[in-house]
């Protein structure tokens, strides 16, 4: 009898295999009804077909290397013979360094490569909450200065490389990192200014700034910076093209970020500022210790959304003749040796863009979860 009881107890401990575990999950979510089963099978079949097509094209039939022509250039005949049935990764092999670093002198391309690594390391360190203290600000200034110094060179035996020869991934990272790093403080000031009751002129200026910038597309702002601006300058005086684009980007990003930050400021209960006032905090102490930490926490999702959008918007510098990652890819495609292999190039670019954007969005989710946990404690 004892045995029977324990068997029954075991039966209670382990529910029937069809209602729990992976199989139970499948039954509940994918094969619950006839309708659901049909949709699952159809989508599964499409997914498999698509995945198989991708593997077949990208791996099985792909060409990884091509022989050299007698002149020393690559001979794309093997790729062309595929007629699109397989990927021509040999093209990426030939063009990767150009796509990543543009017209930076070939022998010196370890410098932009190192800069990209520095950028990624800087992001990594900044993302780790262990390093969130005052020194991180100094580290940013230091690393960004080091990156610029390394790109320009002109010291310690490194040949000087003018910034019109920079291109590819470093340009994309430079524009977006400097753009966001400088636009963010400006955005906070503009958002505060727009909410200011005591300073009507400042408020008016902030409103004007935000509405003017938001009223025109980024592309026209870039055109203004690159086409109109030089005409107003005396002949021969040309502020650097990259700098002009960078300033246009900062102004543009700041206007959008300011509105995001203002959203956070508005969502903050009035009691918070009143309590800070009651403690006798000065305006800036109130903003720094009470308002911003709470307001910014509220707007992490739209902030990251703006960051990601802005990161991709840097590709618009194409129209003013700067060679960012996307432009470098397009220029690589214009090479008659490799025309027609657009899919490979765009896939390569998409993977790079995706890696950065996905890392940003994953990180923001982690940060939100952490901050939410902190609040519920």
């Amino acid at each position: 009898m004892g045995i029977a009881v324990s068997a029954a107890a075991q039966a209670r401990e382990h529910p029937p295999i069809g209602t729990s575990g992976p199989i139970g999950w499948l039954r509940a979510n994918l094969f619950g009804t006839w309708w659901s089963t049909a949709v699952t099978l159809l989508l599964g079949w499409l997914l498999l077909r698509w995945a198989w097509g991708l593997i077949d094209w990208g791996v099985v039939h792909a060409v990884w290397t091509v022989p050299q022509t007698p002149q020393g250039g690559p001979d794309p005949a093997r790729c062309r013979a595929l007629q699109g049935a397989g990927a021509c990764w040999a093209m990426i092999g030939d063009k990767a360094r150009f796509i990543l670093f543009g017209q930076y002198p070939y022998q010196q391309q370890w410098r932009p490569a190192l800069c990209v690594l520095l950028f990624i390391a800087l992001y990594g360190v900044s993302a780790s909450r262990r390093f969130w203290r005052r020194e991180l600000g100094y580290l940013w200034v230091l690393v960004l200065a080091a990156i610029l110094a390394l790109m320009w060179g002109g010291f310690a035996g490194l040949p000087f490389v003018a910034n019109d020869q920079w291109g590819g991934l470093p340009i994309t990272l430079l524009l977006s990192t400097f753009g966001l790093a400088l636009a963010f403080p400006l955005a906070v000031l503009v958002a505060l200014g727009r909410r200011s009751r005591e300073l009507p002129v400042v408020r008016l200026l902030c409103v004007l700034y935000v509405e003017l910038i938001r009223g025109v597309p980024l592309i026209s702002l870039l055109f203004m910076a690159s086409v109109m601006f030089p005409l107003f300058m005396p002949e021969g005086m040309n502020p650097d093209k990259l700098l002009r684009a960078q300033v246009a980007f900062i102004l543009f990003a700041a206007a959008y970020l300011a509105e995001v930050v203002r959203g956070g400021l508005q969502a903050l209960p009035k009691g918070q500022t009143e309590a800070a006032d009651a403690l006798g905090l000065s305006y800036w102490a109130k903003v720094r210790l009470v308002v911003l930490p709470q307001a910014l926490r509220l707007v992490i999702p739209p902030l990251v959304n703006t960051f990601i959008g802005f990161f991709k918007d840097t590709s618009l510098v194409l129209i003013i003749g700067l060679t960012d990652l996307l432009t470098a890819g397009k220029v690589a495609l214009a090479d008659p040796v490799w025309t027609g292999f657009a899919r490979e190039v765009y896939l390569f670019l998409a993977v790079i863009y995706f890696a950065f954007c996905f890392a940003m969005s994953r990180y923001s989710r982690g940060l939100e979860a952490h901050l939410a946990a902190a609040r519920s404690r």
Binding site: Q83, I319, L333
Partner: protein, 342 residues
């Protein structure tokens, strides 16, 4: 009507800008040449994305007919063809870059037209490529002439001079056509390949390049009619005639060298030549370089380091499968003609 202070502002800025330029102009008589020498580098505006004309290779080095034209000018000025900075320009900002002094010379497959020369403050210094709108058809279609294209669907990029040229041509000949407009060149070409249009129309140089990169180029035929004139030219700012001379004669020197059979390979032997034309070209006789405010061996440096016009053509254009055609020397039935270098 009196001018408002605001309307006078550009003039004031212009004068303020010209003052330092005028002060510097006492050197060679050319403000641009002095500026180029002062900075030790020629700043040359190119497209940077057009195969055959200016396109960086896999190592990032600018290649093409336009890029080599820039190198020739640098060789003439400095005796060193590598002292060039290439500035990539879009079709939108190319003229501003020239007007504002950002570049010294614009060599960006720019068509020479009256409107541009009269309105944009620029001078066209020489035609390095005579291009024109052409038609490419599939050989299987059996079309032999553009006159047989009545009712055809034509693949063309929107907003280009090609589109206007086609409309003019078909209206003149009382024919009808359906345009298939696609902005992106690669998509346009795949539309043509997949048979969505009967013919693909753009500059004949681009058509020849496209044909040459196809797996079986015999499947495509370039129709004999060229329906528009697109003389692609060097461009400099108005108001600096000495600089204009240097740019124009750097190009003429390359043509003269080809005509006289002087190449980068044999130029050192040709220094001993007794032919007065070659002696004047290479600076062993006369003061041709001095007249341009350059070294007398200016043309020697050009030919030695960049080559003559035919060598440039073979290196940059012929490899794309484009026939020399009207771009041949006048002695060989083409349009390329240099005035006497004496």
């Amino acid at each position: 009507m009196t001018s408002s202070p605001l309307a006078r502002l550009p003039a004031v800025l212009l004068i303020a800008g010209l003052l330092p330029a005028a002060a510097a102009a006492q050197g060679s008589g050319s403000a641009t040449l002095d500026a180029v020498r002062g900075r030790g580098q020629l700043v040359c505006g190119v497209a940077g994305a057009v195969p055959g004309f200016s396109l960086p290779d896999s190592q990032g080095v600018m290649r093409g007919l336009d890029a080599d034209g820039c190198r020739a000018i640098a060789a003439a000025v400095f005796g060193d063809a590598n002292k060039v900075k290439f500035v990539n320009l879009s079709t939108e900002n190319r003229f501003t870059a020239l007007q504002s002094g950002e570049i010294d010379v614009l060599i960006r497959s720019t068509t020479w037209t009256l409107g541009r020369e009269a309105n944009l403050g620029g001078l066209f210094a020489g035609v390095n490529y005579y291009d024109g709108t052409g038609f490419l058809v599939k050989a299987a279609a059996g079309v032999k002439s553009a006159r047989e294209l009545d009712g055809a669907t034509i693949c063309v990029q929107p907003g280009t001079s090609t589109e206007l040229a086609i409309a003019d041509y078909f209206r003149n000949n009382n024919m009808k056509f359906t345009p298939l407009l696609i902005e992106n060149r690669a998509e346009l070409e795949s539309a043509f390949l997949s048979g969505r249009c009967d013919t693909y129309s753009t500059d004949s140089s681009a058509l020849a390049t496209f044909r040459a990169t196809q797996p079986k180029k015999e499947d495509f035929v370039l129709l004999p009619e060229i329906i528009s004139k697109e003389p692609l030219s060097y461009m400099v700012r108005k108001g600096d005639d000495k600089w204009f001379d240097i740019v124009r004669w750097s190009y003429f020197a390359q043509l003269t060298a080809e005509e006289e059979g002087v190449t980068s390979k044999n130029v050192d032997e040709q220094l001993a030549s007794t032919d007065p034309n070659i002696r004047r070209l290479l600076g062993t006789e006369g003061d041709m370089g001095k007249a341009l405010a350059l070294d007398n061996k200016w043309a020697y440096y050009i030919v030695k380091q960049v080559g003559n016009f035919g060598e440039m053509w073979d290196r940059d254009i012929a490899v794309l499968g484009v026939p020399r055609g009207i771009n041949n020397l006048w002695t060989k039935g083409g349009l390329q003609y240099a005035p006497p270098l004496r």
